[in-house]
């Protein structure tokens, strides 16, 4: 943990009208760390990663990525710096094939020639076990394939930090394992990962560290075993 953090979130606040979705969140992620972000429904997880990836701009506080202040940058600039995200509800480019979907970030974030892009797209699709569907129209995919495409596209942004927003919700046990294996393989390549997940088995097994949000506040931050013993976390989930 003595390396400088790849991501440093300081006192981030986000309000929607009168509703405070994030109330001064602090969060750091070390290079190639696996971080689980959990919390009851509506606790602010998706809002937080939107402030990190740029689809929302924090009302207050600061987001730093590799030491650079990115609080107010547009999403595509952040992507260019190395933040990749998947969407909770898949948002494929419906008029394109799977390979073309992956090529978009490769082309706009990377610098490669058409040939290099094509071969890298193949690599990524291979990693995601989507290579057999490379020439299929994205709108013809099923749920698990769409989730994998989301991750594949996020990987194609050449991220140093990958944010996986509920990539496993609604999937079967085997499918969850498959996504977990993929994410581990991604992590092995030195990519830090923030995993948002409701499936406890998955997130507890995957993460080196867990951060728990409740009602827009961070209530716990520690190793999975600690978190499970933490009375505040139990209270957040089970109530008092």
């Amino acid at each position: 943990m003595n390396q400088p953090p790849v991501l440093d979130v300081v006192g981030v606040v986000k309000r929607f009208g009168g509703f405070t979705a994030l109330d001064g969140i602090n969060l750091t992620v070390a290079p190639s760390e696996r971080l689980g972000l959990i919390g009851p429904n509506g606790s602010g997880k998706t809002t937080l990663i939107s402030c990190i990836s740029g689809s929302l701009i924090a009302d207050d506080g600061q987001v730093r990525f590799q030491g650079q202040d990115i609080t107010k940058l547009t999403p595509h600039r952040r992507t260019g710096l190395g933040i990749g995200r998947s969407f909770q509800i898949p948002r494929p480019f419906g008029s394109m094939t799977v390979a073309e979907n992956v090529a978009i970030p490769l082309e706009y974030v990377g610098q490669g020639s058409r040939k290099e892009i094509a071969s890298e797209a193949r690599d990524i699709l291979g990693l995601m076990r989507l290579d057999h569907l490379a020439d299929t129209d994205a709108r013809a995919l099923n749920q698990i394939e769409l989730r994998k495409l989301e991750l594949a596209r996020a990987m194609a942004c050449h991220p140093k930090l990958l944010i996986s927003d509920e990539a496993m919700a609604g999937l079967s046990g085997n499918e969850v394992d498959e996504i977990l294996e993929i994410l581990l393989a991604v992590n092995q390549r030195g990519v830090a990962i923030i995993m948002i997940e409701h499936i406890m088995r998955a997130v507890m097994g995957f993460s080196e560290r867990i951060v728990v949000l409740d009602a827009g506040k961070k209530i716990a931050d520690g190793a999975p075993e600690e978190i499970m013993r933490n009375p505040d976390v139990e209270r957040a989930y089970l109530g008092e």
Partner: protein, 316 residues
């Protein structure tokens, strides 16, 4: 790099057209052909923004007329020849496109559409009040008596418009097959996802509005020489807008050749129909065709053909 089939065919088309001027005697062919080609340019230009990125420009007539009136003004003031005026017309119309996009595209897309619609009205009023270019009563342009290489100026204009059409379609095709075009398609499919995948969406949209506007302006520049008498109501006629929208939607908006198909079909039909039926009925047909296609065949003829040949399904 491979040359591919497009450029040789394009070259052949231009040469063939120029060759035809030497061997076809009927001027009607060139008068009618000019209009169809002009619609190919306008439809293609509209589609670079509307079809590729999904933002609707209602102001084709405004950009077209900017080109036409640039010619009138510069021809009168400096006596510049058409070929020198065309790039200037493109720059002016392109800047107007850029400004309209810059002010409205950060908001919801419909505001851009509304702004272009209002732009047409305001520019028309401005021109109608501008005495130097003839005001509301219009002005005459005297075409040059001699045109190098051609027997008469209409053949020259026809060949020029043919070249322009080929260049415009070439640009649209180049974009469609390039990084920019893939970025456009990403914006059209899902702008939020595109932005998160590193696509600079605002910049790309501004490129589209500028380029689209510039091509429309260039297409309008030769217009005064074609009609020889220009007045605001004809230069700003809504028929340019409705045609440039109807043609891509009929052909198919997501490809570079959809607008060409639509322009050739609808343009030729109109040229044929103006001879046989009244011009109002003619316009009514365009309007009804537009509405019928958007309601019944939303992907246009290209989409219908694809459905017929079953592309887009799942490859086993």
């Amino acid at each position: 790099m491979r040359i591919g089939w497009f450029y040789p065919i394009a070259l052949l088309l231009v040469l063939g057209g120029a060759f035809a001027t030497k061997h076809v005697d009927s001027n009607f062919v060139f008068y009618a052909g000019y209009v169809v080609l002009q619609f190919i340019v306008l439809a293609t230009a509209w589609n670079i923004l509307g079809g590729f990125t999904g933002y609707v420009n209602f102001g084709t007539a405004a950009f077209f007329a900017v080109g036409a009136y640039t010619t009138i003004a510069l021809n009168k003031a400096l006596g510049l020849p058409l070929l020198a005026i065309m790039p200037i017309a493109g720059i002016i119309a392109g800047l107007i496109g850029l400004a309209a996009g810059y002010f409205t595209l950060r908001l919801k897309g419909v505001f851009f559409s509304i702004a272009t619609l209002a732009l047409a009205v305001v520019l028309e009023t401005a021109v109608a009040n501008w005495g130097y270019v003839g005001g509301a009563s219009g002005s005459y342009v005297i075409p040059p008596a001699e045109v190098p290489f051609f027997d008469n100026y209409i053949e020259g204009l026809f060949s020029l418009m043919l070249l322009l059409a080929v260049v415009a379609v070439g640009i649209a095709r180049y974009i469609a097959l390039s990084k920019i075009g893939r970025g456009f398609a990403a914006i059209r499919d899902d702008e939020v996802a595109a932005e998160c995948m590193g696509v600079p969406t605002l910049r790309l949209k501004l490129i589209a509005t500028t380029l689209s506007g510039a091509l429309m302006g260039i297409a309008g520049a030769p217009y005064p020489f074609y009609v020889t008498y220009v007045e605001p109501t004809s230069a700003f006629s809504l028929t340019y807008a409705v045609n440039s929208i109807a043609m891509p939607l009929i052909g198919g908006t997501t490809t570079w050749f959809g607008p060409v198909i639509g322009a050739v079909l609808l343009g030729s039909l109109q040229q044929w129909a103006t001879v046989t039926i009244s011009s109002e009925l003619n316009l009514l047909i365009v309007g009804v065709t537009l509405v019928a296609f958007v309601v019944l065949a939303p992907q246009g003829l290209v989409g219908l053909a694809r459905k017929l040949f079953g592309r887009g399904g799942r490859t086993p």
